[in-house]
């Protein structure tokens, strides 16, 4: 096979997301067989889509960031911050729902900005910086909840003015058990895909992860791109926190724990390279879908739910292996 042919082969058949799409079909077939009609029914479909949606929203932000060459381990903690912020602003400070949501969005954007600024200014690996913010934010969330209310689980959002509309927009399940969060998930994914593939920012994101020095040499402001990515990522986590606070009409200071890892797994399963510069949002969407199908499918098949984590870890290893093959092929061509 010539060099050119192997290049187009790589792009056509092993391109980011393609392997994951094949994987998603196989997993659907697996559980359609093992769990039977419970999995194939409308209710079954709704259950795995609903499970995939919040993770899918996180995965969109994480995918953009990973393509840009960075990690954010603090997304799960930002989910916790976001939900708790909505609850404290409403129940403790007396704001109504929509101003509380606006304030929470500003707070989360600020957190993302600080994450990005720290990474860009100190040149430290984002893995370490955001590992630190993971603990700082989680600790602050618990401390703030206890400080204000002496509890870490708050409820009663449904008594606050503005809740009905917020519930309809963010927390309802309008059709056949399908939650509106699925619309937010696919909306975020479509918007991110457009930005990535059709705007100059998208070009700069690929370059920031692929070869930042080359991008700097042609005048791309890599620092700005990365800070923007951390803020986008925090915004996605913020949205998930708000959706869950509205849906459960309350918040738990521990909400979102481990979600940062699940999101990274979904993104990597979707074919995005851990080292950056290569990947798609569609892949991340499929990765989240696989996550949802496995999580619900295992329960519906009557398998002990403990096996979920084993399955997840196994799929991650497999996905990384496939990704590396793609990278080796792309580099061998050079």
């Amino acid at each position: 096979m010539s060099r050119r042919a192997s290049g187009s082969f790589t792009r056509t058949f092993l391109g980011p997301g393609a392997a994951a799409a094949v994987g998603a079909i196989l997993i659907w077939l697996l559980f359609a067989g093992a769990a039977g009609s419970a999995f194939r029914s409308m209710a079954g479909t709704a259950s795995y889509l609903n499970a995939a949606a919040p993770l899918g929203i996180l995965a969109v932000g994480v995918a953009l960031l990973m393509i840009g060459g960075e990690f954010d381990l603090s997304v799960g903690s930002i989910v916790g911050v976001s939900g708790m912020s909505v609850m404290l602003l409403t129940t403790e400070l007396g704001w109504s729902v929509w101003p509380a949501i606006a304030g929470t969005v500003v707070l989360c954007l600020l957190i993302g900005f600080l994450n990005g600024l720290t990474v860009v200014r100190t040149q430290l690996p984002s893995f370490i910086v955001t590992l630190a913010t993971l603990f700082i934010l989680r600790g602050l969330t618990i401390a703030a909840a206890r400080g204000f209310t002496s509890r870490t689980q708050l409820g009663g959002l449904d008594d606050i003015s503005g809740y009905e509309i917020a519930r309809a927009v963010l927390g309802s399940a309008p059709v056949g058990g399908l939650r509106i969060s699925i619309v937010w998930w696919l909306g975020c994914a479509a918007l991110a895909t457009w930005v990535l593939l059709r705007t100059p920012w998208g070009n700069w994101i690929f370059a920031a992860g692929g070869q930042p020095e080359a991008a700097r040499n042609v005048g791309v402001r890599i620092g700005r791109v990365k800070i923007g990515l951390f803020m986008t990522n925090a915004l996605c986590a913020c949205l998930v926190g708000i959706i869950q606070a509205v849906r459960f009409s309350g918040a738990d200071a521990l909400r979102g724990q481990l979600q940062e890892f699940y999101a990274i797994i979904a993104v990597v399963i979707g074919g995005t390279l851990l080292t950056g510069g290569y990947g798609t949002i569609v892949g991340a969407v499929i990765g989240a879908l696989i996550f949802g199908m496995v999580r619900q499918g295992i329960v519906m098949s009557g398998i002990d739910a403990d096996w979920f984590q084993v399955f997840l870890g196994g799929m991650l290893l497999l996905a990384v292996f496939v990704n590396r093959t793609v990278l080796v092929r792309a580099q061998r061509a050079s």
Partner: protein, 272 residues
């Protein structure tokens, strides 16, 4: 045209050329880009000592030297990466003080680095327009004019004799010589007046090197002032109009092609 550039003797301190300090754009003898008495020290390490060179429009000025001779430092000064410890850069006879590569680029000084010119996993057209993407639409709907990018990339590369099967193929799938050609085509397309090429033929085979040298000559023929950095006299000699040889941070020769046969060039580099 070469008369404005005085040959510099090894280690000789250059007298300041006060008469040239005022700008004269219309004068054909004014070099397009000139490095005057550049010294560069990193702590106690002296990377450059009173280095002087000039690049004229329509000419290929070769910058030669062994590893560690100071070639990279000198082009980084010219490209705006490092401000020099002493001395000044002159663009069209006017002193310029660049604080970043972007500023130099905005004034028409484009630099193509050997390994850092392209993003291998990105497509050819995305690389070609990186940092200067043409857009269409307004406000939040402003987007890259992808059709124009693909078409323009194809046209520009065809003009350089590169048959691109698909502008969407990743740069990583191009050969080293083709990548240099894409980088040169990009610089010319965006109106480079000075083109600095950092070792464009290093790590290339004979045939690919020849192709790249053709592109170097072609750029100069279009009126660009080309600075061609290399450590291979046999690559420099066929395309160069003038040769500047660096050894341990000093300019040991600055001669037109006629004065330097290729054997002498090699000898100067090694200091024999």
């Amino acid at each position: 045209m070469d008369d404005a550039t005085l040959p510099v003797e090894a280690g000789a301190a250059q007298p300041r050329l006060e008469a040239q300090d005022k700008p004269h754009h219309e004068d054909r003898d004014v070099p397009r880009l000139e490095a005057r008495d550049i010294s560069m020290r990193f702590g106690k390490v002296v990377a450059l000592e009173n280095a002087h060179m000039a690049a004229h429009a329509g000419e290929v000025t070769c910058l030669l030297g062994d590893n560690g001779a100071g070639k990279s430092t000198l082009i980084k000064v010219l490209a705006g990466v490092h401000p020099p410890t002493e001395g000044a850069c002159l663009l069209d006879g006017e002193a310029v003080h660049f604080l970043s590569p972007r500023e130099a680029l905005n004034r028409g000084i484009a630099t193509v680095y050997q390994d850092l010119a392209m993003v291998p996993l990105m497509s050819v057209w995305r690389n070609f327009f990186l940092g200067s993407e043409p857009t269409t639409g307004r406000g939040p709907f402003r987007r890259i004019d992808v059709g124009r990018c693909r078409e323009e990339t194809h046209t520009q590369l065809t003009a350089m004799g590169i048959e691109l099967r698909d502008p969407d193929q990743p740069v990583g799938s191009l050969s080293g010589g083709e990548r240099q050609a894409v980088a040169i085509a990009r610089a010319l397309h965006f109106g480079a007046r000075v083109l600095i090429l950092d070792e464009p033929t290093a790590a290339l085979g004979l045939r690919q090197s020849e192709r790249v040298l053709e592109h170097v000559r072609h750029a100069a023929d279009r009126g660009v002032a080309v600075v061609f950095v290399t450590h291979t006299p046999h690559h420099a000699h066929p395309v160069g109009d003038r040769f500047v040889v660096l050894r341990r941070g000093r300019v040991v020769a600055n001669e037109p092609r006629e004065a330097l046969p290729v054997e002498k060039l090699a000898a100067l580099m090694s200091g024999e």
